[in-house]
């Protein structure tokens, strides 16, 4: 058990430096060292693991993640637009062990909620007192007929998880002839990063304007309108890319034939040169197998809004995109939920009442070119009476993009990465 001491020494230095937490009080009330296992080191999981250790170094934290490095989905559209390198999205996990987090590179294959065990691909069985699932999203590719064959043939990607597909989409746009059609299909709500497809149309238009000005972008949108930052995007498109982006609302895609490159929606068939279809999403199979994907549609994980503990399996908490809620599914929300969950877990271990009125912030910036961006910001406070997170007054999107919001947006990325990872 020499790890305990080593972990503690590392983390206590970090905690002290951050001048946080009444350490002695926790030590008095906690008899043993409880163990939290966190699954997934994204914006939700890594933040939760870090804040658990920062706020209560008595808790042992194991963070299980299959990837060697973190790849940021926020800012990945900049790479698709050709004004950021892929390397800029890739961040090290090296700082997390400094908080006393034990990092395990593995893939979680199952959870036994009764025995409180996590099973991994490499054959490990890891016992937990509390489990935090932050596995991100699963894509319902079966909802688009022909998707799997087209993906295998490298004729379609969603690129809504940053990685090799981000670069593949960029290369497809580079190879597209001038005068070609780039088709973006986005799913009906709820889903990850609702503004992402509109930002993607903007960055593609930015690229086409310089290099392929006769090209067109057709958006087949499952939403009834440009539903996130709508006035901002519409004004920016009119100003910077007049006539280039053809947005077609209420137009959910159902099939793609990659041999003919024809995309079919409920209403029309569209032939395109580069196809980017974002299927609808759900909490991953892992959540279903663990018994926590429990809503009527078998898509999301119901949680207690104060502790983020599953409404169906005790001692399993869920943060981030898989959560059933009215909150946006964004990096910022995942990061904020993770802190509320961490604080609640600490309170539960120490026999205290968790904070009854948690507050969530959500800010997101969408670039409209390599110099301009538009912002949205919303604060949501939990109402114990209504049992729902309520949007606070004046929240919403800025009506216009600006160079100032581009600068703030750049800084937002640097700060959320640092807050999450280091």
């Amino acid at each position: 058990m020499s790890l305990n001491r080593r972990d503690f020494l590392k983390s206590s230095a970090a905690t002290f430096a951050a001048s946080i937490a009444p350490l002695a009080a926790h030590a008095k009330t906690t008899k043993a060292q409880p163990h939290v296992v966190v699954v997934g080191a994204g914006f939700g999981g890594a933040t939760c693991a870090k804040y658990l250790r920062m706020w209560d170094p008595n808790i042992k934290v194991t963070l299980i993640e299959p990837n060697d490095k973190f790849t940021s989905c926020p800012m990945s559209n900049w790479v698709i637009g050709g004004f950021q390198t892929f390397d800029a999205l890739v961040k090290s996990y090296d700082n997390l062990p400094k908080y006393g987090i034990k990092m395990v590179k593995d893939w979680v294959t199952g959870v036994d909620g009764e025995k409180r065990l996590v099973m991994t691909k490499s054959g490990k069985k890891i016992a937990y007192d509390r489990l935090v699932l932050a596995p991100g999203m699963e894509w319902a590719t079966e909802s688009v007929q022909g998707w799997d064959e087209a993906y295998a043939a490298k004729k379609v990607v969603h690129s809504f998880r940053a990685g090799p597909d981000t670069l593949l989409l960029r290369k497809q746009l580079e190879a597209m002839p001038d005068g070609g059609v780039f088709l973006i299909a986005s799913p009906p709500p709820p889903g990850r990063c609702v503004s992402g497809p509109y930002e993607r149309a903007s960055v593609a238009a930015h690229y086409f304007k310089q290099h392929k000005p006769k090209s067109k972008i057709i958006m087949l949108d499952g939403h009834f309108d440009v539903v996130s930052k709508g006035p901002m995007f519409k004004a920016a498109w009119k100003e910077l890319y007049p006539g280039m982006i053809d947005h077609r609302p209420n137009n959910m895609v159902t099939a793609f034939n990659h041999k003919t490159m024809v995309v079919s929606s409920e209403f029309e068939d569209v032939k395109a040169d580069v196809v980017n279809i974002i299927p609808w999403q759900r909490a991953p199979k892992l959540c279903k197998d663990a018994g926590v994907r429990n809503d009527a549609l078998d898509r999301w994980c119901g949680i207690d809004n104060i502790t983020y503990e599953s409404t169906s399996v005790p001692n399993i908490h869920i943060v981030g995109d898989p959560v059933l809620s009215n909150m946006p599914k964004s990096a910022h929300v995942s990061n904020n939920q993770a802190k509320i969950c961490a604080a609640a877990i600490i309170d539960l271990f120490n026999g205290r009442q968790p904070e009854p009125v948690p507050v969530i912030g959500s800010t997101s910036y969408s670039v409209t070119s390599d110099k301009t961006s538009g912002a949205i910001a919303v604060v949501m406070r939990y109402s114990p009476e209504k049992k729902v997170y309520e949007r606070q007054p004046t929240g919403g999107a800025n009506p216009l993009h600006s160079e100032l919001d581009f600068a703030y947006g750049q800084s937002w990325h640097d700060n959320i990465w640092a807050d999450t990872l280091g």
């Binding site: 001491r5 206590s12 904070e355 910001a377």
Partner: protein, 101 residues
């Protein structure tokens, strides 16, 4: 080893008695403040154009946030944020960040 860790915790806590009376000790304030650092940087120290909060004068932070809340100060997103917090919470957050180095 675990027991020794507890001793070390007690020693560390003893090293920082100056922290005990601060807003950072109030778990609710600490949790509220943690929503701020997502944009303003860990420990309130920003890595770019978003302003740092750590170590600013409490009165300055409080006044700025209250003016943003009332729409009297030009902002891009802060007015939207400040209307999600009560004036009392804004005072607590100003205190919290003023004490961070």
């Amino acid at each position: 080893m675990i027991r020794r860790s507890f001793l070390a915790i007690a020693v560390l806590a003893g090293l920082g008695p100056c922290l005990s009376a601060q807003a950072s000790d109030n778990p609710r304030v600490r949790l509220l403040a943690s929503t701020c650092v997502t944009c303003h940087g860990p420990g309130g120290q920003s890595l770019g154009a978003v302003p740092s909060l750590a170590g600013q004068e409490k009165a300055y932070l409080q006044e700025a946030m209250l003016e943003q809340r009332a729409g009297k100060r030009e902002t891009t997103v802060m007015r939207k944020y400040m209307n999600g917090f009560t004036p009392e919470e804004i005072g607590q957050l100003a205190e919290y960040f003023s004490k961070l180095k």
